[in-house]
Structures are given as structure tokens and as C-alpha cells.
């Protein structure tokens, strides 16, 4: 298989980062190389545990639960890391998910 391009994905608050290929979800790349930066739940866009806000850079997303990320939030850069794939280097913030707080 062709080697996919790797992008640098960085946590704005701590500066911690990991590298993520364009065909890899942010969450899976994080788990393999710098575990603990983002919480890991279902890895399927359902539970909301891995919610982040991308503040810099481009990415694609696969289907995410509307219950976890609304249309408005999606437009503001909120995403589920398990369903987001980088297109450039990214800067993100971890978001306390609704299910963690209740």
C-alpha cells in the first residue's frame, strides 16, 4: 500500500502532539502514538467521549452522531476525533463531552 501523508495534530492547551495519516482517524493515531490526549470511547462517532474542536487546519469527517455534534457545532469546528481525518496539520482543543459531565 502507498504511504499516506502524515500530518501533525497538536493539542492547543498543552502543545502535546501526534502524527496522523490522511487515511487514519485522529483518535486511532492518537491512541497508537500519544495515548491519553483525547478520551477514547466507541471509536465510531456515537458516544461523544472524543469530542474536540479544531481551531486550525482542514479535515474531513465521516458520519457523526447528531446528538453529539449539532449542525451548528460542526460548522464551528467541533468534531469527534474518531470520525475526523486530517487534510493539513491541525491544532485542536479537547471538549468536555455532554456524557462526561452528566
Amino acid at each position: 500500500m502507498e504511504q499516506a501523508t502524515k500530518f501533525k495534530v497538536q493539542d492547543k492547551a498543552t502543545g502535546a502532539f501526534f502524527n496522523c495519516a490522511s487515511n487514519q482517524s485522529l483518535l486511532v493515531a492518537m491512541e497508537r502514538t500519544n495515548p491519553g490526549l483525547i478520551k477514547v470511547g466507541c471509536r465510531g462517532g456515537g458516544c461523544g467521549l472524543c469530542k474536540i474542536r479544531v481551531v486550525e487546519g482542514d479535515y474531513l469527517t465521516k458520519a457523526m452522531s447528531r446528538k453529539q455534534v449539532s449542525v451548528t457545532e460542526e460548522a464551528q469546528g467541533y468534531a469527534l476525533a474518531c470520525r475526523a481525518y486530517p487534510r493539513t496539520n491541525l491544532m485542536f482543543e479537547v471538549v468536555a463531552s455532554s456524557q462526561q459531565t452528566d
Binding site: 466507541c42 471509536r43 456515537g46 458516544c47 458520519a63 452522531s65 446528538k67 453529539q68 456524557q99 452528566d102
Partner: protein, 306 residues
């Protein structure tokens, strides 16, 4: 005592990408795809099941469970139970025959935990898949993936466990087989309408109507290990296992479908009869009750539901 509810008969699961979901349930878990309908729902079954299907996948923009259905012994029993559900105070709705392919009329009702359930008496019987009904061989050779045998039970998360227990035991004839108690408070309950240690279970949780997992039966511990191999071979999302539960003592592995709904395949486990006392676990032993070997809960067990 039994009031004519036989078994978990179906579950309708919401998925966000149908192709990915079919790959999970059919190609990885090894359920048999038996039908599709005009609204795009996909119907599947475990190969040992007699009825035409037990899993219905519906495309939606959030995951979770639409409803779980129980098969009852006859239409008379269904109608009798419908009256009792109304008297109990449930919101009851009759779903006409044919709304699900090859299924008769269904009586849908809500539980105090916010989940939707159904009773039905008629569904087309197509027999076990891949083996002859007469002089049947042990298993069909064409099975895929984990070769799941049947849809077995669900674990649900919700708030009013006492109300749900009342409903299922008093109205529908289930028995409480196992429980976890924190002093006076029952924080988990496992109920049965059969000899199985559970046909349905709940864990107490502030939010109503959540699905923790849908579970499918395998024959042996070797099959559970083989399922674990397949999860690695296909880079599927593993939750925990292979391990054993303290509650019911089943041998198990948890993983997630591509929309984040948790799946379980398991084998073994305890049995129950109407005269069996309730098996009780103390909440301070919850780790061991859920994951008998690790004896601690992973964080996901309590927080990740759909």
C-alpha cells in the same frame, strides 16, 4: 411465572452508515442477511434462529436502539398482555402487520426507563439457516466471521429500574435472576423469561433510553477467542475482553459497531428456574461482577452508551 413471553425476538438498531453496519453485523459477526425493505432497513439473523430475522438495521443520524421485541406464544396472549400493559400505565401503540417484513401485528409499549419494547406473536419461520430441518447436520459450512448463533439479550441504561422491574415481572412474567445492590438501591438488574440467566438487563443511569450492548451467542470459549482474533485481523474497535463476567458468569468480548453501538459475543453462563433465589452482588464488588478477571471496570463500561 411465565405469562407467555418466550424470547427476545428482535432488535432494531440505528446506524449512521448502512454499508459499514452491514459489514459489521453480516461479514464480521457472521449474521445472515435475510431481507431488505423499501425504507432501506436491512434484516439479519443468527444461523440457528428459526424466525426470519432478529436484527433490523435502520439508517439514522444518531446511533442507539429503536426498540427490542419479544415473541409471545399466541395472538391471544399478546392481546391479553396489551390490556395489562395499558392498565399498568404504559403508552401502548399497535403497529400493523407488515410494517416489518414478514411480521404480524406488534404491540409497542414504553418502559419507565425510556426504552421502547414490543410484543408480537407471528413472524415467518424460515428455519435454521443452511442446514436441513430433517436429520439436521451440526452446522452449515458457509458461515462467515464470528458465526454468531443467535441474538441473545440486551443491556440497557436508564433511570427508573424499579418501574421497569415491576413492569417486566408483574405484567410480563419475567423473573429477577441477578442484581447488583448498593445498600437499598438496586443499581443493576438482570431479568429472564426463560432458563437463561438474562434475556434483558439494565444498569441504573441518569439518562433515559440508552443502549449499552446487544449480545449474540457463541458456542464455546474457543469461538470467543476466535472472535477476538477477527477483531484484530480487521482492526475493529475493541472495548474489552476476552474475559468472563462475574454476573451470569458468561465468557465474553465487547466491541463496537462502526456507529459506536456496543456489540457482545459470549458463551456459557448460568441458568435459572422459577424457584431459584436471586443472585446478588454488592456494589463494592462491581468491578469483579462485571469483569471477573480484571476486577475493575474500564471507564468505558459506565460512560459509553448510545
Amino acid at each position: 411465572m411465565s405469562k407467555g413471553v418466550m424470547r427476545p425476538g428482535h432488535i432494531q438498531i440505528r446506524v449512521m452508515d448502512m454499508d459499514e453496519a452491514v459489514c459489521h453485523y453480516r461479514d464480521r459477526m457472521g449474521l445472515i442477511e435475510t431481507d431488505r425493505d423499501a425504507s432501506g432497513r436491512v434484516y439479519l439473523k443468527g444461523w440457528t434462529e428459526i424466525d426470519a430475522y432478529s436484527v433490523v438495521l435502520r439508517q439514522a443520524d444518531e446511533p442507539g436502539m429503536d426498540f427490542m421485541g419479544f415473541k409471545v406464544v399466541s395472538t391471544e396472549v399478546m392481546n391479553q398482555l396489551k390490556q395489562e400493559l395499558i392498565e399498568f400505565g404504559c403508552q401502548v401503540e399497535v403497529i400493523p402487520a407488515g410494517e416489518l417484513n414478514d411480521c404480524g401485528e406488534r404491540v409497542r409499549f414504553d418502559s419507565p426507563t425510556g426504552h421502547m419494547f414490543e410484543l408480537y406473536a407471528e413472524k415467518k419461520q424460515t428455519g435454521k439457516w443452511g442446514i436441513h430441518p430433517k436429520n439436521p447436520d451440526a452446522w452449515p459450512e458457509e458461515l462467515k466471521g464470528m458465526r454468531a448463533q443467535r441474538f441473545d439479550h440486551c443491556l440497557l441504561y436508564g433511570d427508573d429500574l424499579d418501574g421497569a422491574l415491576d413492569l417486566f415481572c408483574k405484567v410480563l412474567g419475567f423473573q429477577l435472576s441477578e442484581e447488583v445492590v448498593d445498600g437499598e438501591l438496586r443499581v443493576a438488574q438482570f431479568i429472564s423469561c426463560s432458563m437463561k440467566a438474562h434475556d434483558l438487563a439494565w444498569v441504573r443511569h441518569p439518562e433515559k433510553g440508552k443502549l449499552h450492548h446487544a449480545s449474540f451467542y457463541l458456542e464455546t470459549w474457543g469461538d470467543v477467542l476466535r472472535a477476538a482474533d477477527l477483531i484484530s485481523m480487521h482492526d475493529m474497535s475493541l472495548d474489552i475482553g476476552p474475559t468472563r463476567h462475574g454476573l451470569t458468569h458468561g465468557q465474553t468480548i465487547y466491541f463496537f459497531d462502526p456507529s459506536g453501538n456496543r456489540s457482545e459475543v459470549f458463551c456459557g453462563g448460568d441458568y435459572t428456574y422459577p424457584d431459584h433465589p436471586v443472585v446478588t452482588w454488592d456494589a463494592d464488588q462491581l468491578g469483579k461482577a462485571i469483569f471477573y478477571h480484571d476486577r475493575v471496570l474500564n471507564e468505558r463500561f459506565l460512560s459509553v452508551v448510545t
